[in-house]
Structures are given as C-alpha cells and as structure tokens.
Amino acid sequence: MEQEIFQLSYLQAIVPELLLLVVGLLLLGVDLVLPEARKRELSVWAAAGFAIVALASPLAYLGEPQFVFGGMIGSEPLNAIFAFIFAMAAFLVALLSRDDERLEPSGVYYALIAFAVIGMDLMVAATDFIMLYLALELTGLSLYLLSAYDRRSRFSVEAGMKYFFYGSVASAVMLYGITFIAGLTGQTLYLGVRYLFASAVMPAWFGMGVLVLILAGVGFKVAMVPLHTWAPDVYEGAPTPVTAFLSVTSKAAGVMALMRLLVWIWGSLPSHAEMTSLIAALAIVTITLGNLFALRQKSFKRLLAYSSITQAGYVLVGVTALSPMGLTAVGFYLAIYAVTNIAAFTVLVLVSNRSGSDWLRDFVGLQQRSPALALALLVALLSLGGVPPFAGFVGKILLFAAALKSGFVWLVGAALANVLISLYYYLNAVRMAYTRAEEPVEPLSIPVASRWVLVIATAGIILGTILAYPLYHLLERAAMVWF
C-alpha cells in the first residue's frame, strides 16, 4: 500500500472540486460588490459555474483506476460520473432557486451549494475513513446552513437547528466507530482495513458492531429508517430548492459511500450474510415506513419528503445485491431519481409561489392554470412511481433484477408490493392536478429559469428510458472497477 502523498498530476483527479472551490469563492466575492438590485443575476453565474464543473467532471478520471493523495481518494470513472450528477443537480437547483419567490438567494447561498458538492464528491471518492469523515462533515455543515437559510421563516431556522443537532450526534457516533477501526487495526485506508477483515483476524461480530456505528453517520445521510427521523422536519422546513437539493444529492452521496464500504470492506468478511440481511431488513423497513407515512400527507412537500425516504429504500435494495449489477443499477437509479425529484420540486416551487403554502389541495386545477406544468408533474410522479415508459420504471427494473439475481426474492416481492402502494399517493397528486377547479383560476406562467429546469429534467426522465442501454453500459463499465 505504498502510495505517494502528492504528485502534481493528482490535482487532475480533483479538478471538479477545485473548480467548485473557485466558483464558490468567486460567488462570495461577487456578492460583496454586486448592488442589491442585481443579486438575482447571481443564480445565472452560479448555474454557469456548475455547468462548467459538470462539463469538466470527466477529467477527474485519470484514464485508469488508481489511488491518489496517499490512497485517501480514488480516481475512477464512477467518481467522475457522480461529480457530473452532483454538478448537474447543483446547476438545476441554482436555476430553480432564482424562481422561488420566498427565497432571496445571495452569493453565500450558492457558495454553500458549491461547498456541499465538494463534500459530496469526496464522499463518493473517499477510500479512507478520515477522508470519509471529513467529506461527510463538509457536506453536512454546508447543508445545515442552507436549510436554515430563510431566516425570516421560523420553520427554516428550526429545520437547520434540528438537522445540525442530529447530524452532529450521528457523525460523532460514526467517528466513534472509526476509532475502533483505527485503534485495532492501525489503519484507516479502506484497503488496509479490508485486508484485516478478510484475513479473519477480526471477529465477525466486531465488524458488525462497528458497521452499526458507522451506519449512524452514513445512514443518516441516506435517511434510512430508523435514522430518517430528522428528514421530514428538515425537508418540510428548509426552503424548497434546498430540499430538492439535499433530497437527491446528499442521499446519493450517502448511498455511494455506504455501498463502497460494504463492497470493499464488509463484503470481504468471511461470512457477510448477516451484513446483507441487516441492510435488506433496513431497506424494506425504510420503503414501507416511508410509504405508509406518505399516504396520509396533506402537504405535498411532506409527501415528497416521505417519498424520498421510500425512494432511498428502493436504492438500498440494489445495494443489498452487492454485485456489479447492483452497483450499476444503484448508479442508474440515483441519476434518474435526481432529475425526477428536482422536476417534482420545481412544480411545487412554482405552485406555492402563488398559493403561499405547500398543500396538496393547491394543485387542484393546475391543468387549467398551466397544462405544461401539470404535464411535468405527471411525468415526474409517474416516473417516481415506476410507471413505464418513464426512466423510473427502467431504474426499478434494474434494481430489482440485481436483487433477484443475488437471491433476494422476498425483498423484491415486498418492494414490489410497496411500489403499488406508492402509486396511490403519486396518482392522487396527479389526480389533483388534473381535477377541474370549481372557481375560476388564474393562469400560471412558468418563469424562464424554471422552464429550463423542467425541460432538462423531463428530457432526462424520457431519455433515461430511450437511452437505457448505453447509460447502463457506461455505468456497468465504471462499476466493474470495484469488483
């Protein structure tokens, strides 16, 4: 495991992160000199910055998989792909933030998004426990502040505080777990730890105990039951664009970090059946609980919050497979889920701009007010519900096929039953949008920035189906690196 700490060429592996740093700092600087009246322009600058980062993200892969910076992070295709996904999500959210009339984003707001993305990129890329912890904290701290960004809203501040308190405890527990590993093995590099796990020097029960401690930190990011409790409150209280952002990106980063830990380290335990059944159990509990709670929501925002918990559960089904196919499906689903959820939240932002609340009943008559918006909602929710021909359908097929292949028939059966349940509340929201309002309604126009968000997201949802094979193929090759 001899690895150079630094070479100049290593910098290329973190080009997206370096660029994000530059973007963040520039936005902070511009914010100082820009007059108050022109603050809205910042969103365009931020979006342009994130777009550049997205375009530059393939550079992070140095041509062949390798470790850089002393093994702290890896340079591999999957990291580059997720750097792209996160930057795209940041791009869409930056545009969306401009159109939320209850939010007045400043340079700090966009800079925090940039810093959060740095953290998430590193969470995916981390191959060292210290690196993982630092990345998790960087992500967390940025997101806490973003959640509390709307200082005029009591709920937003409350959300930020809860998020912060919960996150601090969760990462402390995780750090406690890491100390066990470091203390007993003298190693923090994944590969070193893996070696000791595989050689059976470490008793299995010890490995499992440590996993539970680490799950506290990573599972908190994923918002898997029972570590999800913070999520509904934070999702509901935070400004809607921030909710959109953290419900897709930090979840995705958490899932990828978890999957890497499981595949690289715990998967090497001589008997890892116990570990996969733990994850499988948590997956199905996550799916079911999120679903049941989503069923009764009257607030669309809270409905999407619980739906996000359920969606993370589906991804965990793919994680359980612990196979190249599972990893590919997880990557595919996370990418699709990102655009789909952002599309749904965009519709919410535009509707609540007028109504001033998040209630589901505000959606009645949406089809009359703006057919395009109603259609976007339809596409997004059907995709979340896994209805063909939208990409969510393809994604679910891939996840479930991977789990089936690894022998989790009961898990897939239970997940499928839940897909049916989830259709109830997704279609209910669609039904609202397509119900005629009783009193006359005023038309709702879609601002330019949101229009682009919707077009890109909807295109993603449809292209995900059409281009299923090439995308799968790309991800599959990237996923093979881990195995």
Binding site: M161, Y166, A204, W205, V212, A216, T229, L289, Y306, A402
Partner: protein
C-alpha cells in the same frame, strides 16, 4: 445510408410529428397539418427507398439474408431486451403500399377535416397511427409487433371516437377497442406460450428455423391432440380475427364508420385490418408447421373455414345496406375473409397479393365515399343520392375504378388478378381432393358474385340516375387535396395487378414479366413455391361471376334508376330475408343478449354483494384492526419513549398523522434517542451473539 438505418429513421418522423403537434403546434392548424404531412412524406421517401433497394437486391438475396438490425434497449441481467427491424421481401411489399396509402390519406385529410375544431388533434392521432403501422411492419419479433399492434388499437379507439360528442361515436370506439381486445388477449397468450416454449420471440427463430418449427410441431401441447405450433398458431390467429374483423369478432368494424372518413380509410386499408392479415401471413410457417388432417394443420383449417365463411357472410350483408360507408365496411370484412381463406388453403403469396391490391382499391373507395359525403354535406344514405356522376366527375370515375377493382373486373383492374389468384389456388386445392378447398372455393366464388352485385348497386344508387334529394341536387366536386389522392390511388387500383399476372396467362403473362410478385414475395419462405398452373375453369367462372354480378346490379338499379322515396327493389324480391340482412343477421343483438346484458347484471350483482358486502366488510374489519393496533402501538411508543422524554403524555395514540406521537414527535431529542436505541440495540445484539453469551 444503410437499409437498416433507413428503416429506423423511417419510424421517427410520424412519432415526432405526433409529439410536436400534441405538445407545441396544436394551436396552429396549418402548421399541424404540414408537420404531419411532412413527416409522412419523409417516411414515404425512406420506405420507397427501402423498397427500391430491396428490389435491387433481389428476392433470393433478401430472403436469404434479411436486413436485420438490433438496438439493445433494456438490460435484464444476463440478457438484453433488444428492439429490432427486419426487412425481407414480405416487409418490402407491405412498406410499398402502406407508405403510399398513408401519404394519400394524410393529404386527403386536409380537405376532409377542413374547419373541424379538433383539426390539429386529428393530425396528431393519425401520425401516431401511421407510426404504429410502420413499426409493426418492420418489427423483428412478436413482442415488438404486439407493442405496435396495441398502439394501433389505442389510435383506432381515439379516432373512431374522434367526434366523441356523438354518443354513437364513443360507443363505436369502446366497441372497437373491447372487441379487438378479446382477440388481443388470446394473441398475447399465444405469444407468451411461444416464449415459454422457445425462449425467444424473434421471427428469425420462430418462422425460419426448421429445427425449431419441427420441434414445435411435434411437441404435444397442453390441449390434447394439438401440437404446440398448432395451439400457438390458433391463439395468434385469434388476434387476427379481432384485428381483421373476422366472424365472430367482425361487429366492431362497421360501427367504426363513426370516425371521420380518412380514419375509415386508415383502418380499412393502410393500417389496422391489414396488420391482422400481415400477422398470419408472417406467421404462416408456424401456422402450417406439422401434420394435420387431410385439409391441413388445425390453424389452416380454422383460417379456411372462418375466412371463407366471413367472406360470404359479410358479402350478403353488404347487399342490403343503405349507408355508403357501411357497404364498404362489410365489403372490407368480406375481402379480408378472402385473404384469410387463401392462407387456409396454403396460398401464401395470393393472400399477400390481395392484401396489397385491396389496400389500394379500398383506400380509394373510402376516400371516394368521403368525397361523396363532403359533396353531399355529410349525408351518407345512398337512397338520398343519385345523379352525382355529372356533379362530381373525378370522384365518379375514380370510384368506378375502385369499384371495378373490388368486383374483379377482368384484365384491367388489380382486383381481378389478386382475387383470381386466390380462387385459382382454392380450386387447385379442391381438385387435389381437399374438402376445405371445395368449401373455400364455393363460398369465395359465390362471394365474388355478390361483391360485383353490391358494388354495382352502390355505384348506380350513388352516381347514376337523377338526384333523389335536395343535397344531391346541390352536390359539388371536392377540392384538389381530396381528388388528387383519389387519382393516385385509382392508378394503383387499376395497374398494380400487373406485377402478378400468372406466367402462363396468354399474351399478358410474358408481357408483364411472368408473375414478378409471386417470385418476389414467395421467396420469403425460402422454399420453392410451385405456381399453380393456369386453369381455365376457375378463370372462366371468375370472369362470368364478376361481369354477371356487375350486369345484374346494373339491371336492377342502373337500368331503371330509383325514384326518390321508392323502396329498394331488392326489398320486394327478398322479402323477410332483406330485413334479416339489413339487420346484419342480428349478430349485435345476439351478443347484447348473450354477453353484454348478463355482464352488466353480473356487475351489478358483484357490486351489491361482493363489493359492498364482502370486500367492504373485510376492509371495515381491517380498518378496525388498524385502529386497535394503532392504539396498541401508541401505547408501546408512549411507554418506550417515556423512559427518556416527558412528552409522551399528550393525546391518544392514534395511528394517523404519521404517528406524530410515535416516531415523528417533532422534537430533535426524541430523534436522537431513536438513533441511540438503534445503535445500542444492534451493537448489543451482535456483541451477545459474537461472544456466544
């Protein structure tokens, strides 16, 4: 550009046009119709390009190595679900007429739909319809065929019910959708059965691999006495019975007249019903695989019996209809029966030949009748027409061309050559001693007589004599967008037959290059198809029946034109039988009594007893159980959480509102407590188990 990429590209324009019109262009009528027509034109050019390239390659080469291209689409573990295109001589023949008729109908629609409030929507739907048909024709396996089949089913529903403010229109739409669906269910069963037996749905394996065919034909199926091939073939044929409106599922097609006339032309010629016949032609190797009785395999017998019966049965009904489009509708059912029956006696090429020829003249007849209807200000009763010959000359002459082709007027119409080929093959089979051959030949020959008769009746009532109503008096010729397609189609209705003149036909045979169509399409089967030697007996009978029927029709209706308000002369001659025919043998009423009313009664009963009684009862019990368990959980929650927090005393533990009092208290200390419980519990569990305590 390679042929396979042309085939892929050909599919795109119509579906793009559909989405563009639906999403963006629907407010601009001209833009909408230009988009649709432009798309149809691009597809037309590409399709004809494929046809020309296919002709250049030659039938043998194309049959030996069909253009086959696969696009992987959905990875499903070890295998990948692929979409593919498949071009062999049969595909080429289909593409030839589909692209021409589709384009003609699109152009025609501009005139026919003029001023309709849902003009743009119409063009969007027919674009999707065309997409369905193109996709079906180039599909390379049964699954893809089925997908496009269903797209067309949807389009037919949308278009038949296009004027949904008319109750008759939406009822017809529902009827069409449900009736064809009966066939589709059986067809899907057949597809699933084939997949379970072979693990593939590809044409290449199912219809071309002799080993597979042999295995399917020799394996007994779940139903005693039938081989797998026979059972699957019968199930597939059921799909055709629905889609191509064969007895007993023919009832939807006449009602489908409620849609705008270009839609009728689409359904009757270019797309829907042709798809059904195409399926059985495509699946012919499977349908005829293995041994059967003296008459052939069970699917072939079924096709022969049902096809011939339908051909005759529908022709008798057509004789007594008054609505100009209904006559044509029954004539379509009848003509489709000819094709199906032809397959029953093994006349593979003849069926394909008649399919193409029929598409041309039936599209022509429908568009012609639409032109009459527009000229007559949307009146369709032939008894009110008359004398339109001078008022609508182009419509008249083209209609006569189409009508004569339908009747099989000798030599100069396409219908003569194609229908004669079927009759000759059936006669040949009959001579071979097959009872099915006799059955088919007799009914088809009699059907041909009736066909010529009702065609002349239609022409006479509509165009000859003096106007019998106000509207006929003021009828006028339609604009060029409607007449130009008529002229183009009339050209094909007359001349297309010359590609299939039997080799040994005196003078004409050698002149037209010796039955080119037969060699070209016949090559698809990749085995030498013997051509039936020219036999003067059926030929003479055909000619006599065609001319006799036409003359008889003229004698009854044309010689002494009907007075306004006078009854149909046939009514007096046939008496009660006329009423039976006019009411289509009361099949609809029969179905209503036998299926529809009992179903409605069953539904009411189920609602009353099962739904309200049993299911609601269970649900209420479950709901009660949920409340009780909710209280139980609430109690557990309170007790567990009470240990750490003092907030538990609030309220009653109801399971509602996401268990606000259980998991989601809104207090972060409770959340952290749950985290702690989780971590400590599991660490303890693993520790205890690991330490073996």
């Amino acid at each position: 550009m390679t042929l396979d990429s042309m085939a892929w590209l050909m599919l795109l324009p119509p579906v793009l046009a559909f989405w563009l019109i639906v999403l963006f262009f629907n407010r601009w009528k001209r833009l909408s119709h230009w988009t649709a027509i432009g798309a149809a034109f691009i597809s037309f050019v590409l399709a004809q390009g494929i046809v020309i390239a296919g002709l250049r390659m030659g039938a043998e080469a194309l049959a030996e190595r069909p253009i086959h291209s696969l696009l992987p689409w959905l990875p499903t573990g070890a295998t990948v679900l692929s979409l593919g295109v498949w071009i062999d001589p049969l595909t080429v023949a289909l593409l030839f007429f589909v692209s021409i008729t589709v384009l003609a109908i699109f152009v025609y629609s501009v005139g026919y739909m003029h001023g309709d409030p849902k003009y743009s929507r119409f063009f969007a739907f027919i674009s999707l319809f065309a997409f369905g048909m193109f996709g079906l024709v180039v599909a390379d396996d049964l699954l893809m065929l089925f997908i496009f089949w269903e797209i067309m089913g949807l389009c037919s529903y949308l278009l038949i019910g296009f004027w949904y403010h008319k109750p008759s229109a939406y009822r017809a739409a529902v009827k069409a959708f449900l009736t064809t669906r009966i066939g589709d269910v059986f067809m899907l069963l057949g597809i699933a059965y084939l997949y379970s037996q072979t693990g593939t749905l590809s044409y290449d394996v199912l219809f071309r691999n002799h080993e597979v065919l042999h295995r399917l034909a020799t394996t007994p199926s779940v139903i005693g006495g039938l081989s797998v091939a026979a059972l699957a073939g019968l199930l597939l044929f059921a799909g055709t019975v629905g889609k191509s409106a064969q007895f007993p599922l023919h009832v939807w097609l006449p009602d489908a007249m409620e849609g705008p006339t270009p839609v009728s032309a689409m359904i009757h010629a270019a797309t829907m019903v042709s798809a059904g016949v195409y399926l059985v032609i495509r699946a012919f190797p499977l349908l005829s695989a293995g041994l059967g009785g003296a008459a052939g395999t069970p699917p072939k017998v079924a096709m022969g019996v049902i096809g011939a019966f339908t051909a005759f049965f529908a022709a008798t009904i057509a004789v007594a209809q008054r609505d100009i489009k209904r006559v044509l509708a029954y004539s379509t059912i009848s003509q489709l029966g000819y094709m199906i029956a032809a397959l029953g006696v093994g006349a593979y090429v003849a069926a394909a030949f008649h399919l193409v020829a029929h598409a041309f003249f039936k599209a022509l007849l429908f568009l012609g009748s639409g032109s009459v209807i527009v000229g007559m200000h949307h009146h369709q009763d032939m008894m009110e027409m008359g004398g339109l010959r001078k008022k609508m000359p182009i419509t008249f002459w083209t209609f006569v061309a189409g009508g004569f082709a339908l009747s099989g007027f000798p030599i100069i119409t396409a219908g003569f050559w194609s229908k004669d080929e079927i009759l000759a093959e059936a006669f040949h089979a009959a001579m071979g001693g097959s009872w099915l051959g006799w059955f088919v030949y007799t009914l088809l020959a009699l059907g041909a007589l009736l066909t010529a008769f009702y065609t002349m009746r239609q022409i006479s009532l509509t165009f000859l004599g003096e106007p019998r109503s106000e509207h006929a008096e003021h009828a006028h010729e339609t604009p060029w967008t409607m007449t130009a397609p008529l002229v183009v189609l009339a050209f094909f209705a007359l001349t297309f037959g010359f590609v299939g003149v039997p080799e040994d036909f005196p003078v004409l045979g050698p002149l037209f290059g010796g039955n080119f169509f037969h060699h070209f399409v016949g090559a698809t089967l990749m085995e030498e198809m013997e051509t039936t030697p020219l036999n003067w007996v059926p030929l003479t009978i055909s000619i006599v029946f065609a001319l006799g029927g036409l003359y008889f029709g003229w004698w009854v209706y044309g010689r002494r034109p009907l007075e306004a308000g006078a009854p149909d002369p046939l009514e007096r001659a046939l008496g009660k039988l006329y009423t039976v025919l006019e009411n289509k043998y009361y099949v609809d009423e029969f179905y209503d009594r036998l299926f529809i009313q009992p179903t409605i009664r069953l539904g009411a009963w189920v609602y009353k007893w099962i739904d309200r009684g049993v299911i609601d009862g269970i649900l209420h019990t479950v709901a009660k159980a949920a409340v009780v368990s909710g209280q139980l959980f609430g109690w557990v929650d309170r007790v567990v959480i009470n240990g750490g927090v003092d907030s538990a005393a609030r309220g009653v533990g109801r399971m509602g509102e996401e268990g606000r009092r259980g998991l989601q208290t809104g207090l972060v200390q409770d959340y952290i407590f749950i985290l702690a419980v989780f971590v400590i519990l599991f660490v303890l569990v693993y520790f205890v188990r690991g330490a073996g305590l």
